[in-house]
């Protein structure tokens, strides 16, 4: 099932981007051998270690010259350091058909992804965006400063929602492709019919820190319809004919809240973060309100 979502303008305006510059993506875990982020590490030592010397060549950085050796030996040697890799931040972005079925969750998710990427770019973090539905799609890596935001935005604007969600398959592929641990941000409605808790738990069990952002449209949580309705699953095309009354709507909402609580419990149980965002909430409130409150960003 494919729904075409056409963006009529830029995902984020300049004013909003400027407000994002004071934020930082937070994670709680310390990953051995990795630097980056803006958390205090429990391990002592600096971020760079001396590796070797080599002869100085024209054009090398004069700041790395071993001046003590020059004064003693009258030769210029250049100090070489081993740069430790930064903590990888990977963002799984749900592009299944259910994201476009109601409330334009897909656009909301893309805007949120663009916001988090910009926050990471400003803090010189490396963020990899990985779209997924039934499988993991080709992603986009961004890093190196705020001036690298534009390619990320173009990548996000070019995404289309389609396909069925299969979290288990996606997580397996992800763990195979990216064995290095890091922060995993999942932007999704988590509406996978077989269930997504087990797949999320795999991610956590492999040492990743989870930041789960659940998106829902208001009609996903509180259906407005009454009477005789023929429901059609946006992803699978499955149909359900039923009579909707107030009691059925109440039970539906209770089931949804129970499902969201399960997602939240998976995140918190693994020292991760959880944010539930309805699409009716302005993106600014979602970032500066809900996500700051859950300490996903600060």
């Amino acid at each position: 099932m494919s729904n075409s979502v056409v963006s009529t303008g830029p995902l984020l305006d300049q004013e909003f981007l400027e407000r994002l510059e004071r934020l930082t993506i937070h994670w709680q875990k310390s990953f051995a051998g990795l630097v980056g982020g803006h958390n205090r590490s429990r391990f002592a030592g600096g971020g760079q270690e001396f590796l070797d010397h080599r002869h100085f060549h024209q054009g090398d950085d004069l700041r790395a010259v071993n001046w003590r050796a020059f004064m003693r030996l009258d030769k210029m040697f250049l100090k070489m350091f081993q740069v430790e890799p930064r903590v990888p931040v990977r963002m799984l972005l749900d592009t299944s058909a259910s994201m476009a079925s109601a409330g334009d969750k897909f656009t909301y998710a893309r805007r949120l992804a663009a916001s988090l990427c910009y926050v990471g770019l400003v803090r010189l973090d490396t963020i990899q965006i990985l779209p997924f539905a039934a499988r993991l799609h080709e992603g986009k890596t961004s890093g190196g400063g705020r001036h690298r935001y534009r390619p990320v935005a173009q990548f996000l604007e070019g995404l289309q929602p389609e396909g069925v969600t299969d979290f288990l398959t996606v997580v397996r592929e992800f763990l195979n492709d990216f064995p290095q641990r890091g922060l995993v941000i999942v932007l999704s409605d988590f509406l996978d019919d077989p269930g997504c808790e087990r797949a999320l738990q795999y991610l956590a069990d492999y040492g990743n820190e989870l930041m789960l952002v659940q998106l829902w449209a208001d009609e996903d949580r509180t259906p407005p319809w009454t009477g005789e309705v023929d429901f059609v699953n946006a992803e699978s095309g499955e149909k359900l004919r039923m009579h909707v009354d107030d009691e059925a709507r109440r039970k539906y909402t209770e089931a949804f809240d129970l499902f969201a609580a399960g997602i939240r419990q998976v995140a918190l149980r693994n020292d991760g973060k959880y944010s539930g965002l309805p699409t009716s909430m302005p993106l600014e409130d979602a970032i500066f309100g809900t996500m700051v409150r859950t300490r996903s960003i600060a």
């Binding site: 509406l191 509180t222 407005p224 319809w225 009454t226 089931a255």
Partner: protein, 637 residues
């Protein structure tokens, strides 16, 4: 409980149609629809099958009930549903505003205000107390009742009509006005409201004696205090003196309308010349008359004034237009004029000139004569105007003579002829007469056994008339009979009716005028100043007509003419007392407010609230749905 704007049948028909339409729309709206959703997993509890459809024709009966109830309430509001019986219905009121001549009287304490101003103020006060949804019609009442507005809701138009009302020239005909107001209420189609009379209630004695008020559901009187001392002229009449040639007998009647006796001065002027002045005492409520003699044969305006001036000045002055006295010139050609002389001298309106027969045709003045009498004379030429031939010579007569008869016996006068009015056969004694052989255009006036002895003819245009007598009525025994002057008088009246008509000039008030007739059989003409005919009615031996404004009217009835100078206002005789059941004064404002409590605003609000509530609770765009749509709409905008 009842409906103001719709009948019960109309209400049920409209509600039925709306109800059927609403149910049809409802069923259509509640039909099964397809909805794409993100997941189906939450519609069924874990481990239990999904709930089945249980389709019914009416799935949300409360929604349908609320819709129908809301529309019922709105329709009731439109239909004007009211509770409390007819007290709360919209009413049609008639304001009878007195515009009689008396309303022009000045108030004693405020010389710049009149009774009309008081009546206007009362009427406006009452109008402010009338509920805004009631309609009002303003009726101006004097001698006639004239609607000043239609049924009006716009208070500005009603106020303008009240302020534009001015005193007229006639007295109030209250019973007629109230009857007319009641008829208007019956035809209005709405519930009858009040009939309100604003004025002092001064009416004529004739109306007071025969007053019958119509059956009015609600009658209110806005009394105007008119305790004003006033004396005024009732009528001024003038007629030619029967004894003095060139003299008018003038009769002036004045009345005291106040409560204390007054002495007033009456003065007469003809042109600018004073003709007399008299002082008369007028007891309260009484009428007195006095006479004057005015010597003139010329036409002019006779002015009558009453002093001293009082708050109502319209009846202190009357103008009477006197016509000139006309005479008929008669030329007699006779060798023996003496027997004719006394007959013609008996009437001052005849100017007789006697000439010998030899002068016939020599004097040009004879051409202007109203009548030429040819006494046993054969003129060389036939006169052009009116002529009386007395015993013309045989063979020279304008009418062929059949034979000459001595002692013809009884003379029979032809009845129903103007020339034979009052003549009887036994009065006539004739020695000898010519018997004529009349043609077809001659009228027989008198006959003997052998044939006609007096014949008459008139030209086709009526300008020249001719009478031929076969005998001499001024000779023989007939000269002593009454028939001779009667016959000549009839002849003169027939030849010149305008001259011998009795002229009576009267000044009185405008309004309804009644003039007695001599016999009741004469032809009657009622002419205005411009010569146009005025509608009139003959009742018994009197002619009646009406004029609502000051004017001059001529009434010609047979041989008499009366000129009415209707310059005086028509005045009242008695004060009318309202019936004890009549409401009095301006109603209290709270009474109006209480009566005007309608339910339609509350019904409309309740109906709208029910429909909005139903829409929010069950509509496709319920509150939840609106909350969902709001960001989308904002984004689209």
């Amino acid at each position: 409980m009842f409906l103001l704007n719709l009948s019960l049948g109309q209400f049920l028909a409209i509600f039925g149609a709306i109800g059927v339409f609403a149910v049809a729309l409802y069923l259509l709206d509640r039909s099964r629809r397809k909805q794409v959703v993100a997941t189906l997993k939450f519609w069924s509890e874990p481990g239990r099958p999904a709930p089945e459809s249980r389709r019914k024709k009416i799935q949300q009966p409360l929604s349908l009930l609320l819709q129908l109830l809301g529309m019922l309430l709105l329709l009731l509001a439109i239909a004007g549903f009211t509770v409390g019986g007819r007290q709360n219905a919209r009413r049609d009121h008639v304001l009878v505003l007195d515009t009689s001549a008396w309303m022009g009287a000045l108030l004693p304490n405020r010389p710049d205000a009149t009774l009309m101003d008081l009546a206007r103020a009362n009427a406006l006060g009452w109008l402010r107390a009338v509920p805004a949804e009631d309609r009002v019609l303003v009726l101006r009442a004097d001698g006639l009742a004239t609607p000043a507005t239609s049924w009006e809701l716009d208070r500005r138009n009603i106020t303008r009509a009240i302020l534009d009302s001015k005193p007229g020239s006639t007295t109030l005909n209250l019973s007629h006005s109230l009857d007319f107001a009641r008829q208007l209420q019956r035809r209005s189609g709405s519930f009858a409201g009040e009939i309100v009379y604003a004025g002092p209630g001064r009416i004529s004695a004739a109306e007071a004696n025969n007053m019958t008020l119509p059956d009015m559901p609600a009658f209110r009187v806005l009394t105007v205090n008119d305790a004003i001392e006033n004396c005024g002229l009732r009528s001024v009449g003038a007629r030619r003196s029967q004894t003095d040639k060139g003299t008018w007998d003038v009769l002036v009647r004045a009345r005291n309308y106040g409560r204390i006796p007054h002495t007033v001065q009456l003065t007469l002027n003809f042109g600018s010349t004073p003709q007399g002045s008299q002082s008369i005492d007028l007891p309260p409520g009484q009428e007195r008359e006095t006479t004057f003699k005015v010597h003139t044969i010329a036409a002019g305006v006779l002015e009558t004034r009453l002093y001293p001036k009082d708050p109502f000045g319209a009846d202190n002055y009357a103008a009477l237009e006197l016509p000139s006295m006309r005479t008929l010139p008669v030329v007699v050609y006779s060798e023996q004029p003496d027997p004719i002389r006394p007959v013609l001298a008996a009437d001052p309106r005849i100017a007789a000139e006697f000439r010998p027969v030899v002068q016939y045709g020599l004097n040009e003045g004879a051409a202007n004569a109203g009548l030429i009498i040819l006494d046993r004379f054969d003129p060389p030429s036939v006169p052009a105007g009116n002529s009386l031939w007395i015993d013309p010579p045989a063979g020279k007569s304008p009418v062929p003579v059949k034979e000459r008869v001595d002692h013809p016996g009884d003379v029979a006068w032809t009845p129903d002829q103007p020339l034979t009015a009052g003549l009887r056969a036994r009065d006539v004694q004739i020695d000898s007469t010519s018997v004529f052989d009349p043609g077809p255009n001659l009228t027989r006036i008198a006959e003997v056994e052998k044939g006609p002895v007096i014949v008459a003819s008139a030209s086709t245009d009526g300008k020249s008339k001719m009478v031929v007598m076969g005998f001499n009525p001024f000779a023989g025994p007939m000269r002593y009979e009454l028939a001779t002057p009667l016959l000549l008088a009839n002849l003169l009246h027939w030849v010149a009716p305008d001259v011998f008509r009795d002229v009576d000039v009267t000044t009185q008030s405008a309004g309804s005028v009644t003039m007695p007739l001599t016999s009741g059989k004469e032809s009657v003409q009622v002419l205005t100043e411009a010569g146009a005919s005025l509608p009139f009615n003959i009742r018994g031996r009197a002619v009646e007509f009406f004029t609502g404004e000051s004017s001059r009217v001529r009434v010609i009835a047979g041989n008499s003419e009366r000129v009415y100078s209707l310059t005086l206002p028509e005045m009242w005789d008695v004060k009318w007392a309202p019936p004890p059941t009549a409401r009095k004064g301006i109603p209290a404002f709270n009474e109006s407010v209480r009566r005007s409590s309608d339910l339609w605003p509350f019904l409309a609000l309740l109906g709208a609230a029910l429909l909005i509530g139903e829409w929010l609770a069950y509509g496709r765009y319920s509150a939840t749905r609106l909350r969902i749509l709001k960001p989308r709409l904002g984004k689209a905008a």
